[in-house]
């Protein structure tokens, strides 16, 4: 088998670890990934589950690399099966190739004698005594994940101590014997790999510099961003894949004087947020597609009454209940255009874990500065994926902390207070209960400067204008997109959100092969920096738009807002599985060869 092992230092490796319910695949994956991150490797951990809450199949993808990992892979270098039984569930998303090393328990009766890839080519399958070793050390097959962990950690050449320390910490409560047994199971796994030559696969993986890392999901980064921004109020309703934000803030906010309410539904959550912000507090909610659909009416109210608030929407597969645990990028039109009437609102997108943090911080800044609802679009892929990041990834943002809160009038001003004062500056100070002399009444009905209802079409017009002018100002302030890649790129890919990583990887590979390609990542979806994007597009000889939506919602948005796409290649499909760098690359090559 040694012949199969690449001798040149590899820069990246993908491990797929799968099992059935109770196999402890997720725990093993997380421990392995944390240790790899700590050892200086870039890494992404993606989890995959069956429909069962408990007892179903589960798997983790671990992508490790000497460089930053930017986009998902489906090809696996190593597949480790704790139960082969779960293989059919994942077969569709696994791209196995003759180079893939498949590790199967020697005692697994469900595994066929000959393991093949989708084309029927035989794969290198090795039987390993995982279960036997586990039983020997822990007296139970439950220790199998530790043996596997040991094996894989040796394979990655991770320092021998890191993981045993983590095991000890996790199992401390269960007593010294349990810890010792489990650590021994781990070590047997290590040794098992050490005896073989597979260890060369990963041990020789080039390393980045060894610095402590942060290993975090996008949803956690949203929470972090909200805490950094000083969120004071959160109301939400549980929904996959956004619930972690509610849970985390429910744990964090009360201790610093804030409030978290688990509302009775999404409409209540959204209107609670409006109420808290009417009360002068920084307020936020988080949801996924079905919840965003329900919030539509209330978001219109927030825009109309100029209520600052942040709405995080972690997209999942749709339409309707769709595929709650899988990703898609098809809530963009709802975010940008949902709600009756002309409703200016801000929509910004996050591309990865760090992006989730940044978008949230920006969202609070924009909401408070421009007194408007701001929708942050992330998705299941980045919401749930764990990424290793440099420890200083979340340094304070000078530019976005400068406006900490909406402008508020003074008590007892000399002139009568007008909530929606019209003037050169479309942003008018916002009072809140408690400020004397500035009480006002507002409503969802068209209002005058002082908030009183009116049915005067002229006032309707100037208030429409006021809200639109805020968007114009905001657009001027924010760049709204970012171009990565060679300056004079001939190929251009316009992308957004979690697909951007794949676009970047595709561009890098194309550029490496002589086709200079850059990527325009759109961060501000509304108001859209259409001019800048159009200018970028105009300079490319070949243009593609890449996104994970069956109906190409992003491309439609670009056209709608004035980016004429004309001959652009639209790379798009429905979700479930993320769009891959290889797909984008192939489509571009085919089209523009």
């Amino acid at each position: 088998m040694a012949s199969e092992v690449q001798e040149a230092p590899r820069r990246a490796l993908t491990i797929f670890l799968m099992g059935s319910g109770g196999d402890g695949v997720i725990t093993a994956g997380e421990l392995l990934a944390r240790a790899a991150a700590h050892d200086g490797l870039g890494c992404h951990l993606t989890k995959s589950f069956g429909p069962q809450i408990r007892g179903g199949e589960s798997a983790v993808w671990l992508q490790v690399s000497a460089d930053e990992v930017r986009s998902p892979a489906v090809s696996a270098d190593v597949v480790m099966a704790l139960s082969w039984e779960s293989f059919p569930r994942f077969a569709g998303q696994l791209d196995l190739s003759p180079g893939t090393l498949v590790l199967v328990d020697e005692a697994d009766s469900k595994a066929p004698d000959q393991i093949e890839d989708r084309e029927g080519n035989p794969l290198t399958a090795v039987r390993v005594p995982i279960r036997r070793l586990a039983e020997e050390e822990t007296g139970s097959q439950l220790g199998r994940n530790l043996v596997a962990l040991g094996f894989l950690s040796a394979l990655l050449g991770l320092p021998a101590e890191t993981i045993p320390q983590a095991i000890a910490k996790r199992l401390k409560k269960r007593g010294g014997t349990v810890v010792a047994n489990n650590v021994r199971a781990f070590e047997r796994g290590q040794a098992l790999a050490g005896e073989s030559l597979y260890v060369a696969l990963g041990a020789k993986l080039a390393r980045g510099d060894k610095r402590p890392r942060i290993f975090m999901s996008g949803n956690d980064a949203v929470t972090l961003g909200a805490l950094y921004s000083g969120v004071e109020f959160f109301a939400g309703y549980p929904i996959t894949p956004a619930s972690e934000i509610l849970s985390s803030l429910a744990a964090e906010l009360p201790g610093i004087g804030g409030t978290v309410i688990q509302a009775e539904d999404e409409i209540a959550a959204m209107t609670m947020v409006i109420g808290a912000s009417f009360g002068g507090k920084k307020a936020m909610t988080a949801t996924s597609g079905p919840g965003l659909s329900l919030k539509t009416e209330a978001i219109g109210l927030a825009a109309h009454a100029e209520i600052p608030c942040v709405i995080v929407n972690v997209q999942r597969g749709g339409p309707s209940t769709g595929m709650p645990t899988m990703t898609e990028q098809a809530d963009i039109q709802l975010a940008v255009y949902g709600a009756h009437g002309d409703v200016p609102r801000v929509v910004i997108a996050a591309t990865d874990t760090r992006g989730c943090y940044e978008a949230t911080v920006k969202a609070f800044y924009l909401a408070e500065r421009y007194q408007t609802p701001v929708i942050v679009l992330t998705d299941q892929l980045i919401g749930h994926r764990l990424e290793a990041l440099p420890a200083d990834s979340f340094e304070p943002h000078e530019s976005f902390s400068k406006v900490n809160r909406r402008t508020v009038p003074e008590d007892n001003p000399t002139e009568p207070y007008k909530r929606y004062r019209l003037g050169r500056n479309p942003i008018s100070p916002m009072s809140h209960p408690g400020i004397e002399g500035c009480a006002y009444r507002t409503s969802g009905i068209v209002h005058q400067e002082n908030g009183c209802p009116t049915s005067d079409a002229g006032i309707h017009h100037v208030m429409n204008e006021k809200r639109q002018r805020k968007m114009d100002m905001l657009l001027k302030e924010m760049g709204g997109f970012q171009v990565v890649g060679p300056d004079e790129a001939e190929f251009g890919i316009i992308s957004w959100g979690s697909t951007s990583g794949a676009a970047l990887d595709a561009a890098a590979r194309l550029t490496a092969r002589g086709r200079r390609t850059s990527v325009c990542i759109v961060e501000l979806l509304h108001p859209l920096p259409a001019e800048g994007i159009a200018a970028y597009a105009a300079k490319r000889r070949h243009l593609a738009v890449a996104e994970l939506s069956y109906s190409a919602q992003f491309a439609r948005l670009l056209r709608s807002e004035g980016v004429p796409l004309l001959d652009a290649l639209l790379i798009h499909r429905g979700g479930g599985h993320p769009l891959l760098a290889s797909e984008i690359e192939r489509r571009l090559e085919e089209q523009f060869q």
Binding site: I214, F233, E252, G279, K281, Y440
Partner: protein
């Protein structure tokens, strides 16, 4: 030495002239609210009046308080958010039977369970006034309205029963034809620590006729003197009475408020762990 300012009812009346129909019950309700506020000496800027949409929901505009005439059916959650944000503000929720028991009916039980410290006044006219006379959840069985030419085929809801079943800690009933009692009920409700609900019969003269004042007046009785307002079963019996409408406080029983519980929870959170940005981030450090 600080002096408590005094207010007259006019301090709560805004410059906006009500667009209600002449004779509408809601005029008495707003008048009783002005007077209750003056009696309680609540500063207008310390008060927020929140509503949904409907004739009755226009009320916030007629006050000098902070006001939000929001969207149909969502006054209660909006007020819940506001109260959590500004616990010092006196929060008054006002609205109609359609707003509160139909489209907004899913929120009422939860504010009650939480025992949010606010007062909820429903101006029940058994009809949708603003949209011109369609049936509401309290429209009597068999009534003919804009949407029930052949008689309404649904049993009405009993708002008092709802409130009691929801665990509302203060439940009262009033009548727009009796402003004096109304005012004192409002005073008591606003003084109440926790969620207080006042069901006010406030006739819609346009879509159900002036005679509704008489219909209510004939059935109205004061809550019996010997009624124990902490006895929920007795309160159910009064609420369910087939003939009489008992005016006054049917039920009240002190209970921890949501604000108190949230405060307690904040304390235990502070004790239990480091919270906030830095410590949250630390959880994710690989070392």
């Amino acid at each position: 030495m600080s002096t408590v300012p005094t207010y007259t009812w006019k301090d709560y009346r805004s410059g906006l002239a009500p667009v209600w129909c002449p004779g509408c019950g809601d005029f008495s309700v707003v008048a009783a609210i002005y007077r209750a506020l003056a009696e309680l000496r609540i500063a207008p800027h310390q008060l927020a009046v929140i509503s949904g949409i409907g004739c009755s929901s226009r009320l916030p505009g007629y006050t000098t308080a902070y006001g939000f005439n929001a969207i149909h059916g969502r006054a209660i959650p909006l007020a819940t958010g506001l109260k959590a944000a500004r616990p010092d503000t006196e929060v008054l929720v006002v609205g109609g039977d359609g707003d509160g028991f139909s489209i907004g009916g899913g929120h009422f039980p939860h504010a009650a369970r939480r025992n949010v410290d606010m007062t909820y006044i429903v101006m029940d006219n058994c009809i949708y006034g603003l949209t011109k006379g369609q049936t509401s959840p309290t429209t009597p069985l068999g009534e003919k309205t804009a949407t029930s030419r052949y008689g309404w085929p649904e049993q009405p809801a009993n708002p008092l029963n709802l409130a009691l079943a929801y665990g509302v800690s203060f439940v009262a009933q009033g009548f727009a034809g009796d402003m004096r009692t109304l005012k004192s009920l409002f005073v008591e409700a606003m003084r109440w620590k926790g969620f207080a609900f006042v069901e006010v019969h406030s006739p819609c003269v346009t879509y159900r006729g002036r005679e509704q004042f008489d219909v209510v007046r004939e059935r109205a009785r004061p809550v019996p003197e010997d009624h124990d307002p902490t006895d929920r079963t007795a309160a159910f019996a009064l609420a369910d009475h087939p003939e009489f409408m008992y005016m006054g406080v049917l039920y009240k029983k002190p209970q921890d408020t949501y604000e108190e519980r949230l405060d307690a929870l904040r304390s235990s959170a502070k004790d239990a762990s480091h919270c906030g940005h830095e410590s949250f981030l630390d959880q994710f450090r690989t070392s």
